[in-house]
């Protein structure tokens, strides 16, 4: 019953990515106002990649939406070389709609990257790496966070200032994909 290396090395979904593949994950609760901003941005990123009409887009960059943090989020990165996470953040110190970029090493606890039921994303990544799972290197995991205003009220729409940040956040995600480490340049992928 010991898990084989092969079992651990497969991503849960949506199927084995090709080497060099990237995953973009919008994180949050899509029915909790600004908490759903990660989903909105991910939807737009997917639309942009599709519109570019590159046959490779679907194969080299997977776009997903999730509302789980911790271990489940780390498991979703298995098998990829590059990941961009999009999430809401509440610093309370900047204008709602402000777009931040973080590396995983200075990842703040955005609203959803951690889980109160297992561990932080950093802890989960460390655990999976310890178990030999192929994960993106730290410099291959980037976080685009958007300052939220209301993450307490059920609703499918973001507040106006946060909603207006979508285009800027989408561009930030595309920039991150384009700036992938040497050897994995994004131009051919997008």
């Amino acid at each position: 019953m010991i898990a084989s290396a092969a079992q651990l090395h497969q991503p849960v979904a949506p199927g084995p990515p090709r080497p060099g593949g990237a995953v973009v994950i919008g994180i949050g609760n899509p029915i909790l106002s600004d908490d759903g901003i990660g989903w909105r941005v991910a939807e737009q990123v997917e639309a942009v990649l599709r519109a570019r009409g590159d046959a490779l887009a679907g194969q080299r960059v997977h776009v997903r939406r999730m509302c789980l943090g911790g271990l489940a989020l780390a498991e979703a990165l298995v098998g990829y070389e590059h990941a961009v996470l999009i999430d809401a953040i509440l610093t309370g110190s900047t204008r709602p709609g402000t777009v931040y970029r973080f590396g995983i090493s200075d990842l703040p606890a955005t609203l959803n990257t951690a889980s109160s039921h297992d561990m932080t994303l950093a802890g989960a990544l460390a655990t999976l790496r310890r178990l030999g799972a192929p994960l993106p290197p730290d410099n291959g995991i980037r976080v685009i966070a958007i300052e939220a205003e209301d993450v307490w009220t059920f609703g499918e729409a973001c507040t106006p200032r946060v909603a207006r940040s979508v285009a800027r956040a989408v561009q930030a995600v595309l920039d991150e994909l384009a700036a992938r480490p040497a050897g994995q340049t994004a131009s051919a992928d997008l």
């Binding site: 019953m1 010991i2 898990a3 079992q7 651990l8 849960v12 979904a13 609760n29 899509p30 029915i31 909790l32 908490d35 999730m66 509302c67 789980l68 943090g69 911790g70 271990l71 489940a72 498991e75 809401a88 509440l90 610093t91 309370g92 110190s93 900047t94 402000t98 777009v99 931040y100 970029r101 703040p108 606890a109 955005t110 609203l111 959803n112 951690a114 889980s115 109160s116 039921h117 297992d118 561990m119 932080t120 950093a122 802890g123 460390a126 655990t127 999976l128 310890r130 178990l131 799972a133 993450v151 307490w152 009220t153 059920f154 609703g155 930030a172």
Partner: protein
Amino acid sequence: MTRITIDPITRLEGHGKIEIFLNDQGDVENCYFQVPELRGFEVFCVGRPAEEMPRLTSRICGVCPEAHMMASAKALDALYGVEPPPAGKKLRELLYSAFYVTDHTTHFYALGGPDFVVGPDSPAAERNILGVIAKVGLEIGGQVIAARKRNHHVIEMIGGRAIHPVAALPGGMSHPITEEQRREILDIARQNVEFAQFTIDLFHNVVLANSAYVEMITSPAYTLRTYYMGLVDEHNKVNFYDGLVRVVDPDGVEFARYMPVEYTDHVAEHVEPWTYLKFPYLKKLGWHGFVEGKGSGIYCCTPLSRLNAADGMATPLAQAEYERMYETLGGKPVHFTLATHWARIIELLYAAERMVELAEDPEVASPDVRTLPTKKPTEGVGIVEAPRGTLTHHYVTDENGILLEANLIVGTTNNYAPIQMNIKRAAESLIHGGQVSDGILNRIEMAFRAYDPCLSCATHSLPGQMPLEIVIRDSSGQVVQRLSQNID
């Protein structure tokens, strides 16, 4: 783009916050565990077709979408007055058992277990799954991840998606499974039983074999005498998916046994001015403040509560371990909050065994998985046991099935009063004459963690593992000490 540094205290604001007030002697006078509540769920739901509810409510939080989907589907069965065919019901329970295996496994190895396996006084940085791996071996970590993966696969096969399954409909399920899938699930279920047995052995070898741990589990600081609630089958055995709600008193004597639709006769909610979250209590006993014992309406529903409220487990291996737990801890009911960890892995074993039973039944692969609703909808209540407590969904609709009212009592909310009382008790044992013992944060966290409170339902954005802030104030209200867990 701005680069910022975020102060952990700032982030904690508005999240799990514990305020401890001391009296003139410097002992604990009062304790408040505050959580902000999400707003507007009912407003969000009203006016929508009721059949959207299994998908909508499973979005309330990302931790137990399967539980919301099941409670919602059962509420819809009741709303439309329709009984799912046997295969539809069995498929739901099979999916739900796989979910329990995943959830309880993750809790034990990543959250609850590290306190014991690594040790309650070890540094917080080591009290995690990596610490467990360091102590008991790398292959254990692999087994935890493999268990999650194979059971997510089961959830995907039956529920349509691994995360946020969508297949439950009023009257049953949207699609059957194939005979081949049934055999695959049976194989997975058998692996689960083996893994659950391994987990129980680990608990015995590491926790119960250590007298210091047993002493801590049975210490007054972690003891609370309340009523206990849980779903039971017709033989009063623990059931997660279906049955009657049974409540026993602090002596273990049956106090109530009722149908889900009767819940409003039995449970009411108390409001305190200092928190948005309500405190459910047993209506017939009334609210008498944060007091334990037979006269108080405070009840608890956790894995331990479910075992206390039942007469046993419906599967043989889990039943044997159930008996072993009560023999070891001095008979029923057990009031030791930390024994919840033991109860949780007994439930893990039951869920695994139940999966085998269901997957062995050829009927589970029958194509007859749904009874089409034909009656006009009016009102329906659905109750399941979520991993963190009894979960109630209650809908009222017009004759077109459009929601007029929706009420939810989520698992953790049931336990809000006991959590609050457990925290206070742990604080009382660690603060004397104004002196705050080292390690109070860890010890209070342990009381808190036994419940695995899912504040995601009540509050959403808990940013870390256990992002509690504890503020201790003297009798004049001045802050004496402020403690918080670092979030990396």
